[in-house]
């Protein structure tokens, strides 16, 4: 099996070379960029499997790259990477099309796992993202307009809760007596709901968070 082709986007060259050194043995880093324009050009030219995307970037942020690339290359998967503690930023980039979010403090091994998972078409939720999402969908929000789409099922909540507690997918599956594949299905469903759910509710939540 050939190695996953990865493109790294981050405005700090030090961080890019650090990530490259950590993941290079497992995956193939085909290119890197430090701003939005260079990233869009590079991704168009190289068509990598997975793009590691910094949330905050000069020239429009990670969101601008997602918007520019996904329309033309829907097959490219994005994994967001950030130091941000701002749930609005993180949820924004996931809603823009990123299939996962990890914090920059992540170990090289975990990062490789996340890349593999995103490459396989699954979602990768770090504990922090799971926490943000639970917060977004729980809160004190009244009944969402379309329960089918906007609410999380009880099982999805349980899965997210365990991930937020630091469980891996495998440990989550064992704890809930379901298969790891089912955990992946639940997480992908949550990702889909996050990307499709009612904009009003989420923006209201983001606003409430920023006020506190």
């Amino acid at each position: 099996m050939s190695r996953v082709r990865v493109f790294v986007v981050d405005d700090h060259s030090l961080f890019r070379s650090g990530v490259r050194a950590e993941i290079e043995p497992t995956v193939e880093v085909v290119g890197e960029a430090g701003d939005v324009a260079a990233a869009v050009d590079g991704i168009h030219a190289l068509e990598p499997d997975v793009v590691l995307l910094d949330v905050q970037l000069p020239g429009g942020g990670g969101r601008a790259i997602l918007d520019a690339v996904l329309a033309a290359h829907p097959g490219v998967r994005f994994l967001a990477l950030s130091v941000s503690d701002d749930p609005g930023d993180v949820i924004g980039v996931v809603r823009g099309g990123a299939r996962g979010y990890v914090v920059k403090a992540i170990s090289g091994r975990e990062l490789c796992q996340a890349i593999t998972r995103v490459h396989a078409g699954d979602a990768y939720f770090s504990p922090r993202l799971a926490g943000f999402v639970l917060d977004a969908f729980t809160g004190d929000a009244p009944v969402p307009p379309d329960p089918e789409l906007d609410g999380l099922t009880r099982r999805e909540r349980e899965v997210l809760r365990l991930i937020a507690r630091g469980y891996t997918y495998k440990e989550t599956a064992e704890r809930l007596y379901i298969s790891a594949r089912t955990v992946e299905t639940h997480v992908s469903a949550v990702l889909r709901k996050l990307q499709l759910s009612d904009r009003r509710e989420l923006s209201r939540w983001a606003k409430a968070r920023n006020l506190t």
């Binding site: 503690d85 403090a105 504990p127 799971a130 926490g131 917060d135 937020a164 507690r165 630091g166």
Partner: protein, 338 residues
């Protein structure tokens, strides 16, 4: 604040100009007063013409100076245009009324003169107020607003500079000095990161006000003391009271245990507040233990965690096995305390 012409924008009229204009005005007004005193009143059209000239001479220079000063400003331009329109309409109406009375009405031709003069003078007064007082007020408030904005900017900049100096800069200096001690460097870097984060995202300022803040403080203490990292995730929060403080203390004890015994560099701390209960979970992937044999003889676990939770009316569950990590789960019903 003095004259409108002397503030703000670049084109400053020479003071000589103003003095000259005032002198001319004074001479003309004096001549008019002398004429009114020593000659018989002129016919109405001449009177009107004279009135317009004098008022024009009085107001004109001010209007010219003010418009030149405010030409670049859209809002001020609008005010000026309105004032001019108002003045012109008033003066025009007065003249028309006067002419009508003088030509059509045979009853009292003498009333025409005062009416026309009055209208012209009021129009002149209006113009004078409009072009001198309003621009002056306008410029005054704008200058004040600008000064305030500049002051706020300067204060913000000073605050940022101070903060960066006290935290990041100091830490970077320390790190350069202690390159031989990786553990100390990591601790310093973590400390600086946390401080900067707290400052950027508004967390952790002084005494924590709620459960999430208190847990963050507890996690920080354990990180600093044992050199591990705690991954904290909170969902929702609630106010601190005696019971929730107790849960924070129990969580801190569980974190300390994990840091001491698990032998891992990372511990997860999770807290969730739902409508009626508070859940805190402390989890590590370390060497684990057997709760059946270990639980009772270890004071921290038995007393500080389990005993405390029982006294608070909550529960403590332990998921652990030798070799597969440990998780301490604290639950507290909070419905009644909120």
């Amino acid at each position: 604040m003095d004259h409108p012409a002397s503030s703000a924008t670049g084109t400053r009229p020479r003071p000589g100009w103003i003095v000259l204009l005032v002198c001319v005005d004074a001479v003309v007004v004096a001549a008019f007063l002398w004429l009114a005193e020593h000659t018989s009143p002129p016919p109405l059209p001449l009177l009107v013409l004279l009135g317009v000239t004098i008022v024009g001479l009085l107001v004109g220079p001010w209007a010219y100076l003010a418009t030149r000063q405010l030409r670049s400003d859209a809002a001020a331009g609008r005010i000026l245009r309105r004032v001019f329109a108002g003045g012109t309409v008033l003066a025009g109406t007065g003249v028309v009324v006067a002419v009508l009375i003088a030509t059509g009405g045979t009853q009292d031709p003498d009333a025409a003169g005062p009416v026309a003069m009055f209208a012209i003078l009021v129009a002149g007064l209006l113009l004078l107020v409009g072009v001198v007082v309003l621009p002056w007020l306008f410029l005054l408030t704008r200058t004040l607003a600008r000064e305030r904005a500049a002051r706020v900017r300067a204060e913000e900049h000073a605050e940022v500079a101070t903060h960066l100096h006290d935290s990041v800069l100091q830490t970077l200096t320390l790190i350069q000095k202690r390159t031989g001690d990786p553990a100390a460097m990591a601790r310093l870097a973590r400390h600086a990161e946390r401080e900067l984060r707290g400052w950027l995202y508004g967390q952790d300022q002084g005494v924590p006000a709620d459960l999430a803040g208190a847990l963050r403080t507890a996690a920080t203490e354990v990180e600093d003391r044992f050199g591990i990292s705690v991954e904290l995730v909170t969902v929702g929060t609630c106010p601190l009271n005696e019971r929730t403080r107790g849960v924070v203390a129990a969580a801190g004890e569980a974190l300390t245990n994990a840091a001491k015994h698990a032998g891992m560099a990372k511990v997860s701390l999770y807290a969730e507040v739902t409508g009626d209960q508070l859940l805190v979970a402390v989890r590590d992937r370390g060497r684990g233990f057997d709760p059946a044999t270990t639980g009772r003889d270890r004071h921290g676990l038995a007393e500080s965690i389990m005993g405390r939770m029982q006294r608070l009316g909550g529960t403590c569950t332990i998921h652990a096995a030798p070799g597969s990590g440990a998780e301490v789960e604290l639950r507290l019903p909070v419905g009644s305390t909120r």
